[in-house]
């Protein structure tokens, strides 16, 4: 039960942060990506603010404690720079640059009842499921291994 409350509260805080920083707004994000045009560096400050808070906690808390409501920390297992990381991140960047939506802001923006947000999120879910399908059904046994 406690872990569910934590998840819910974390989601809310995250959504508030996206609202305060206006990163929920694709136009704002596209302003950041438009480095060669009229550039809005705000997104860098969002990342800096978040990293300044999370980095020290990650390093101090992880070495000494267990999570409050879980048996242990769930950390990414992959360490190497593989083909999937490079190809996947490249594809993600193209999609991100086309509209200015990445997954967090896209989902959060459903709150604003914009039809385009709904279409984006549904397509994104389609992308997740298509990739899952291709991986599990068509190229099962390949080196691709998702969480």
């Amino acid at each position: 039960m406690a872990s569910k409350i934590v998840s819910f509260i974390s989601g809310i805080i995250f959504g508030v942060g996206l609202s305060v920083s206006n990163m929920i707004n694709p136009e704002k994000v596209l302003g950041f990506l438009d480095i060669f045009g009229l550039w809005d560096p705000s997104l860098i400050f969002v990342m800096l603010g978040a990293i300044i808070i999370s980095a020290p906690v990650f390093f101090l808390f992880r070495s000494k404690n267990k999570p409050l409501f879980a048996d242990n920390f769930t950390m990414p297992t992959l360490k190497s720079i593989d083909k999937n990381l490079i190809i996947g991140s490249s594809i993600f960047g193209v999609g991100w640059g086309m509209v200015g939506f990445c997954p967090g802001p896209a989902i959060s923006s459903l709150a604003l009842l914009n039809t385009y947000s709904v279409y984006f999120v549904l397509s994104m879910i389609g992308g997740f499921l298509l990739t899952e399908f291709v991986d599990k059904i068509i190229i099962r046994g390949s080196k691709i291994n998702y969480d």
Binding site: E27, P67, A111, E132
Partner: protein, 137 residues
């Protein structure tokens, strides 16, 4: 280079709030708040499904609470056409799944952990996004 619409204070404040969301999730549940991973897990895994779903519901409620308590409207504008939006959504879904992370997972959590994978992923998706904006913008 011309700098416009730059809002460093609200950006930094919003970033700090996002950082708090990340540490609450981490200290409480021992997990990293990568949104693409959480949405993916909700779709394909039974493990922690309720937790993941509640995180997503919270993410949608965040802006509603923000507007309710501050009475400040959230600026929001999408100028892309529907075919572009659908294509972009697909690419973001496919790309973050294959690359195992998005702006929150790699860009915030991964960089905070000094993960080389995440630093490289972030550099790559920023570069391809900037090129995309340059080409279609």
């Amino acid at each position: 280079m011309n700098i416009v619409n730059f809002t460093p204070q609200s950006a930094f404040a919003g970033g700090i709030i996002i950082g708090f969301a990340v540490i609450v999730f981490f200290i409480g549940n021992g997990r990293l708040a990568g949104v693409s991973g959480i949405v993916n897990a909700t779709l394909v895994s039974k493990q922690n499904r309720t937790d993941n779903f509640l995180f997503i519901i919270g993410l949608v409620l965040g802006p509603i609470f923000y507007v309710f308590f501050t009475k400040i409207d959230i600026p929001f504008l999408i100028t892309s056409s529907l075919p572009i939006i659908i294509t972009a959504g697909f690419l973001v879904g496919i790309g973050t799944k294959i690359g195992r992370g998005c702006t929150s997972g790699h860009g915030i959590c991964g960089i905070s952990l000094l993960s080389v994978r995440s630093i490289i992923a972030t550099i790559i998706f920023m570069i391809t996004a900037i090129i995309t904006v340059k080409l279609i913008g």
